[in-house]
Subunit: 340 residues, 2 copies
């Protein structure tokens, strides 16, 4: 059955069944934030053909990724989720099954991170379009922000980078990466299709403060949705500081290291995916080196990748010298090559 | 200049200039709700060619209407606004000026209702698409909801209905309504292009409670964005009650009454616009008849239009008999005629 045949009034009750009882049915949803906490809000628009395609992403994965990308922005603020709303633009000829599967993936992600869908809107559109807004809350003193990095901070990446980009390559060119095991292929593709917002890192930071009786731990940071290099550059720009990243310390997925050793992947390509690939949805955090060391020793895949310095240069230190990092290689909407 | 030439990174700083200083620049915005208040959240998607067209709506009006429609949902919950986020899908060939004018209209509306833009997202899309989410807050005991109407309640419409639909007619067919004065034409068109969310009504209800030392005033209701008839029917369905609307009491715009008297507009057409035209963004409230009378006597254009009764019949009482109201004449997305 097509969306058009069912109509808006027919589709709404089905979609509302994904919300908790009693939450929808009014002009807006009512939520109960914890008194004294700051409210955190982030919004994203995802468009078919720009952000996802049937070739690389099932409807369930579109739902999961859409939810995960927004939840990752909450985690990047040190927040815990309160709920999510979704506005959907749908072509009339779209199969109803596609929408059902989208919502199943979305609901699966929300359930995994103990949060809920609290409202939405549907309308007609020539391209499938998702407008997602996520709401969270954070103790005001525990908010992670970009502008509070200081020289001397260690820079932590909470996991490997480049896996999502390698997974996309496998989806676009299945013949690529012939030496990868089935398990490795699966894991790289999974990194692209099912990114995981790092609320576990947020929880770890809170426990660390609480166990050490720290009244506050200053953590600057953001997520690496637009790439590791982009995150470091954005934090440095907002904090008016520079940074040095040490290439040997950058956490690269093991299968990619192996492909480089086998000569199936050029080192420059692997480095490019790691720094600029994007969509790994890890956190890039700048914090006290002692806390940073404690964090990475408790977090598989995490690494101290560099340090914040004064000045404004953001440099990648390699065996052969220093390279300035630049934003221009990152994903840009509206440019002619902006298809991912 | 086209949006494509400027690119996402070029456009973002310009759009961020519409946000208050310090609010944007992180993965999400931080807001400070009043402790103890419920959080209210509503989202809408607006698509060029479906919800607005260059023929009837300037970019400024698209911005104003988009903001106003979402703010109206907050007013319909009895809430005051905390802020609004907007995700924008834009064709690369769109003129930058169009986006600037859109934001000007949006900002004008937000300023008028003492609230702010707190974040957004932009991406490429084949149709101009706005995903707007508005956030507000309300004292939990003062929330207006659809399911709390009771038999004996008076039904109030906070202003005239049909004006927005008549304004749209004037935009689509400028030759129509020849007997209207320039001022009347302007006011009807304005009703369509610049709807006003009724936060003044929300304030009045709070003052009324406070002056009479009422701990609580039960008010059921919603806004009339999808038409007066739709609002009454939705409230009755949610509250499991019926209603009687008295046609002579329905507040019709004066210019339309005059056109009917002159024979330039059929009575049936005027009644249709009043009940089903939609987009007047008034509030339809069910409350104690004494409070209702006090409200309408303080609110120009407002009227007690009927009463809530037991049972499930929703009837329009005319001079010649009783007619059941139905939803089927309202605006439906995905149907073949769903173009407004």
């Amino acid at each position: 059955m097509q969306v058009r045949e069912l109509g808006e009034q027919g589709l709404l009750p089905y979609l509302q069944s994904f919300c908790p009882p009693g939450v929808v049915g009014d002009d807006a949803a009512l939520l109960t934030p914890t008194p004294g906490q700051s409210l955190v809000v982030t919004t994203d628009m995802l468009v078919s053909g720009v952000h996802f395609s049937d070739q690389t992403t099932s409807p369930e994965d579109v739902g999961w990724r859409g939810a995960a990308a927004n939840l990752s922005d909450l985690a990047a603020m040190g927040a815990t989720p309160l709920g999510l709303v979704i506005a959907l633009g749908l072509p009339g000829e779209l199969e109803l099954e596609w929408v059902q599967r989208l919502y199943q993936g979305l609901a699966e992600c929300l359930q995994h991170y103990a949060t809920v869908l609290v409202g939405g809107d549907i309308c007609r559109s020539s391209q499938v379009t998702l407008g997602i807004t996520a709401l969270g809350q954070v103790e005001p003193t525990q908010a992670i922000q970009r502008h509070i990095a200081q020289p001397g901070d260690a820079i932590v990446a909470t996991g490997v980078h480049g896996a999502s980009r390698a997974g996309l390559e496998l989806l676009l060119q299945p013949a690529w990466g012939g030496s990868l095991s089935a398990q490795e292929r699966h894991e790289l593709i999974r990194a692209h299709q099912r990114p995981r917002p790092r609320f576990d890192v947020v929880r770890w930071l809170r426990c660390y403060c609480s166990e050490l009786h720290l009244p506050q731990l200053r953590v600057a940071g953001m997520d690496s949705s637009d790439g590791l290099a982009d995150a470091v550059l954005q934090i440095c720009r907002a904090s008016k500081v520079g940074a040095r990243l040490y290439q040997p310390q950058l956490p690269i997925p093991k299968p990619l290291t192996r492909l480089v050793e086998l000569g199936e992947l050029k080192l420059a390509q692997a480095r490019d995916w790691l720094l600029y690939g994007g969509e790994d949805f890890e956190l890039v955090l700048c914090l006290d080196p002692v806390a940073a060391q404690a964090l990475v020793s408790n977090l598989p895949g995490a690494a101290v990748v560099g340090e914040v310095v004064s000045g404004q240069d953001v440099l990648l230190v390699t065996e052969t010298g220093e390279l300035p990092l630049s934003l221009t290689q990152g994903f840009q909407h509206f440019s002619s090559s902006a298809q991912s």
